[in-house]
């Protein structure tokens, strides 16, 4: 269980995390979703007591992280790939971390095997790929067999097999009743992995809830219709609360009325349908809708004279 209350972090002028409150519950995978620079990593560092909050507080399993007698048994953390001395071997890194808590050699070998690092455990971490670095970070997080896992971008740099492995593992760990909190800017990955979401943009919580609720609440499902008499059908469907757009002559994208109703109306008028498809919104689209205007770095053509003229005209 992780509880953040009015958590705030200011770096000079910049408010990196702005009065953020959320609860991460045990037995579920909670995704921490937001664009790059939204404050995800800063929030996670505050959870682990690495960064001191400017205001507010965050507790893990009822206590501030630093107050735990055995932090590695409470929280396993993956903060960034390769938070490891490059001159050390993977095994020595894990042995040193384990030694702080009096955890023995056996557990070190277990997490090495668990993360598939057996063949490279004796090698210097400096030569590791990003993916191997991530596996080592997850191995370190698992050392104390912790009740809570905090994973910052765990699938970053992993190959598809590795991504699947992380997904399976976090689902399994949550299934055992552990608390799993993982961040990502990949909405598609979150849609598959997470139960709950905390969505953050520019340091502020945009929304929290289950993945399904967030998709439902932030988008409206539409229906794609194809018909040789599309224009006539559009006239039939037009009424309050229904919006119709058309990108091709024989195609309509309809919102505000569901597919069965469209089918029945078409049948009454004898209008043939070639396609009638409900289109459910993806988390990706929900995320775009939610974070529109919250993304710190918009991609825009600053050098484009048209854009500049428009900006100047707008002033």
């Amino acid at each position: 269980m992780i509880e953040a209350v009015d958590l705030t972090k200011r770096y000079g002028e910049k408010l990196a995390v702005d009065s953020v409150s959320f609860t991460v519950r045990p037995g579920r995978v909670t995704g921490f979703l937001g664009p790059n620079g939204a404050g995800k990593s800063t929030t996670m560092r505050m959870i682990l007591g690495l960064d001191r909050p400017t205001a507010g507080r965050v507790t893990v399993n009822g206590k501030q992280y630093a107050d735990h007698r055995a932090p590695l048994l409470e929280v396993g953390a993956l903060l960034e790939a390769k938070a490891v001395h490059t001159g050390s071997s993977a095994r020595d890194h894990l042995r040193a971390l384990a030694a702080t808590h009096g955890i023995g050699r056996k557990r070190v070998e277990e997490v090495i095997e668990l993360t598939g690092l057996t063949d490279v455990a004796h090698k210097r971490v400096g030569g590791f790929s990003l993916g191997m670095g991530q596996r080592l970070g997850i191995a370190a997080a698992m050392l104390g067999d912790p009740k809570t896992l905090v994973l910052d971008e765990p699938v970053n740099g992993l190959d598809p097999e590795g991504v699947k492995w992380v997904r399976t593992m976090v689902r399994y760990l949550a299934g055992e009743g552990r608390t799993v909190f993982l961040s990502s800017h990949l909405m598609s990955e979150m849609a598959i992995t997470a139960d709950d979401l905390v969505v953050i943009g520019r340091g502020r919580i945009i929304t929290t809830g289950t993945v399904q609720d967030i998709i439902t609440a932030s988008t409206t499902g539409s229906v794609r219709v194809r018909s040789p008499r599309a224009g006539e059908l559009a006239e039939t469907l037009r009424r309050d609360g229904v919006t119709i757009s058309s990108s091709e002559p024989d195609r309509l994208d309809v919102t505000g009325i569901d597919a069965p109703a469209i089918g029945e109306l078409a049948a009454q008028r004898g209008i043939p349908l070639h396609e009638l498809t409900p289109v459910s919104a993806s988390l990706e689209e929900a995320f775009m809708t939610l974070t529109a205007g919250e993304v710190e770095y918009h991609s825009e053509a600053v050098g484009d004279p048209d854009t500049r003229q428009m900006q100047e005209a707008g002033r």
């Binding site: 960064d51 992280y65 277990e110 370190a140």
Partner: protein, 282 residues
Amino acid sequence: MTAVTTEPGRAPSVPRDAHVTFLGELRAEWIKFTAVRSTPWILGVTVLVMIGIAALSAWSFSFLLDNPEETGGAAAFPADFDWAAQAAGAGYIMAQIVVAVLGVMVVTGEYTTGQIRSTLAAVPRRLPVLAAKGVVVTIASFVTGLLGVALGALVALPLLSSHDITLDLSRDGTLLSLLGAPLYLVAVALFSLGVGTMLRHTAGGIAVAVLIFFVLPMIWPNLAPDFFQDTSPYLPSIAGARLMEGVDPDAVLSPWQGYGVMLAWAALALLGGAVLLRRRDA
């Protein structure tokens, strides 16, 4: 795909009462210290350099005593000058640079690589980390210095034997001169650890340490105003070097007073490091 082997509840290989202890953190720091391959190498080379300088010093003393008409012989030295001990410990001057670099890098190496976040997440109270690093560099620098002096003496003595010079440990001040180099190196390592913790940057930390232990003692005492003359005995390097110079009635500080002043400097640097380590974001 690797099978997930964790069972519900705690893995049996993780002790139920496992928790952070200072001894555990000390072991962790020792593992990290020896895990980086360059460390034993650097310390081994340091011992070799100390032996080499001891041999050179002994050879040069021998030359000086052999050619009194050119060099003035022993006349230029105090009557009770301890030739053997001075030759054996002469290498400290080079060794202190290595030890300073090591003291700085034990902590800045963690900041450069990101290791510090793993370290502080495991020991979030932070100060035990600095304390354990202090113990590790103390042991490493003392043993290096001791080996350097002991082996240096073994090499130096045959070169001085033609002048009936021996190493008499019962003689007043001899043992102190010999132990002086390892003790001095400990203070250098601790001071550098403090500086490294404050600055968090390898290059900056090394620059400050070299400036203080190598450059300052060459410049400060030679500046004209009285202020510099009066304060120079209290510079960390000059104060600490009193240990190796033996009893000197003209000196402002006795050997142990001098070492006390040097340790006070080291304590100040460590205190600064400790305060910043506690306060700053990692």
